[in-house]
């Protein structure tokens, strides 16, 4: 059975329609969404409506959370004050546009979803704001999957799709203790932990790709073979760009959709987890 995972829709209706059409064309009817339905893009209500109509199981992204909870991230979230002002403007615009019904829908979304030992989150099991980048420390990446009790972790948030396998791991430790002894000579004890094979699958971004191309991205997981396919889907970028400008959102949001590169509002230190 094949299963599609989408993420980071960012109020881009044209991109979402194209991705759903691509999924439908392959006869896949199981879809999971990893959040960030809104933010940056010009059609927040239309995108939320479509996800609701299709009854796509969805977990809450950082933008979805911020719209509900208020913008309360620390000032780490943006690489510059200009970028922060643009982000705040998009936040306010989205909050003003969103219907009460759709706001309630975003508020109802869970932080994570499970299917057997597959875990679905927006950022990481720790936080919707944590980036699991493809080249992050391998032990730290494995810790995120293992501490959550998952075999495969599906995430988004980075807007760059990838499949990462962590295998053949081990950690040797030497422990010395002196329980109850005043500076007693400690006997060393050596131990070894064998680490299990784990996978992280990042679904990329439907509505705001940052992988160096303008195409929307998502992944298909073939559960019978465990194979993962990273899909790129062309869509009508100009339609979304015109809507961004017409809505009065910062034109740089349209400019970067036309380029597909990471000029987005991402923190300089992607390993930083916002303290809220």
């Amino acid at each position: 059975m094949a299963h599609a995972v989408i993420s980071c829709l960012h109020a881009n209706l044209a991109a979402l329609e194209a991705v759903l059409a691509d999924i439908d064309q392959q006869g896949i009817d199981t879809i999971t969404c990893l959040g960030d339905l809104v933010g940056y893009g010009p059609q927040p209500n239309e995108v939320v409506n479509l996800v609701r109509e299709r009854q796509i199981p969805t977990c809450q992204g950082c933008w979805d959370e911020d719209i509900i909870e208020g913008l309360n991230a620390c000032d780490c979230s943006y690489p510059s004050q200009l970028a922060e002002r643009r982000g705040q403007l998009a936040h306010q615009w989205t909050a003003d546009q969103l219907s009460e019904e759709n706001r309630a829908f975003l508020a109802s979304l869970p932080m994570s979803l499970w299917r057997d030992r597959q875990l679905f989150v927006h950022g990481s099991p720790n936080s919707q704001h944590e980036y699991l980048l493809p080249d992050m420390d391998a032990f730290a990446a494995l810790e995120r999957v293992e501490s959550a009790g998952a075999e495969t972790l599906f995430c988004g948030h980075t807007h760059r799709p990838y499949v990462r396998e962590l295998r053949d791991g081990s950690i040797r430790v030497r422990v010395r203790q002196t329980p109850g002894e005043p500076a007693g000579v400690a006997e060393a004890e050596d131990r070894e932990l064998r680490l299990p094979l784990r996978r992280i699958i990042n679904a990329g971004s439907v509505g705001e790709p940052r992988h160096g191309n303008t195409h929307a991205t998502y992944v298909i997981h073939h559960e019978d073979t465990n194979a993962v396919e990273i899909r790129e889907v062309p869509y009508d970028v100009e339609r979304t760009c015109r809507a961004i400008v017409d809505a009065g959102l910062p034109p740089i949001f349209a400019w970067r959709l036309r380029h597909g590169f990471e000029y987005a509002e991402r923190a300089d230190d992607a390993s930083h987890v916002c303290e809220r």
């Binding site: 810790e143 499949v163 962590l166």
Partner: protein, 236 residues
């Protein structure tokens, strides 16, 4: 190079603090004292110890203090943590413990407690009450090495001194590695990563304290008020 003394978990016990100060003054050749939290607790009145920490006596080593789990609970209950209250304490020990903690500390000390930091970074060492993840993160010799490595990696340090478990231990990451294979739209790449040579050190609590010499990496565990069974024990 300076030798450090690391203490924690006094929980209002001025006598224990005085015993440690006496030890340090007479025998240990220490010039920096770090207090890794839990200077307060619900068992006894804590004001005398708090006053001593803020106004050291002549001959005392000047303490450099962090906040620990008990300070976090009191600060939350007194409204210093936004909407949060001492929920963890309430859940684990009940309303009576919350009341006892409130009674144990004069509100006049709250501003000093609120100004305490979460952790110190000294040289390549992190000094924390719990861990880089949270003040209540209890790291011990039986904690998963994967979790310990994660806590070290988050701070990008080679030594993590922790107090939350109350145990004295030294855990060295001594070897191992992991293979990583990443596939994305640019292709596929493989990477082999080794376990870095890092350590997590539990400093003990109450009269159980630790001396660390960052120059030689030597570590010794002591109990205040007792004579060591032999001199120069410990491990470098």
């Amino acid at each position: 190079m300076a030798r450090w003394a690391l203490i924690s978990g006094l929980r209002g016990d001025l006598e224990a603090y005085e015993a440690i100060q006496t030890d340090l003054r007479h025998t240990r050749r220490v010039d920096t004292l770090f207090v890794l939290g839990d200077v307060i607790g619900p068992e006894r009145e804590c004001n005398a110890l708090l006053e001593r920490l803020q106004q050291p006596r002549r001959g005392d080593l000047q303490p450099h203090c962090l906040y620990g789990w008990w300070e976090e609970q009191l600060l939350a209950e007194r409204g210093y943590r936004g909407g949060r209250r001492a929920d963890a304490l309430r859940l684990s020990q009940g309303e009576a413990a919350v009341d006892a903690l409130l009674q144990a500390v004069d509100p006049a000390h709250m501003n000093w407690l609120a100004a305490l930091q979460f952790g110190f970074i000294e040289l390549d060492c992190a000094l924390l009450h719990g861990s880089s993840a949270a003040v209540d993160d209890s790291l011990g010799p039986d904690s998963s090495p994967l979790l310990l490595l994660d806590r070290l990696t988050r701070m990008d340090v080679n030594r993590l001194f922790t107090a939350r478990s109350g145990q004295q231990f030294r855990l060295e990451l001594s070897g191992g590695g992991i293979g990583s294979q990443v596939r994305d739209l640019e292709g596929q790449r493989q990477h082999q990563q080794s376990v870095p040579q890092r350590q997590v050190i539990g400093i003990g609590a109450g009269v159980h304290y630790t001396i660390y010499d960052p120059g030689s990496d030597r570590l010794d565990f002591f109990i205040a008020g007792t004579k060591p069974k032999q001199r120069a024990r410990g491990f470098a």
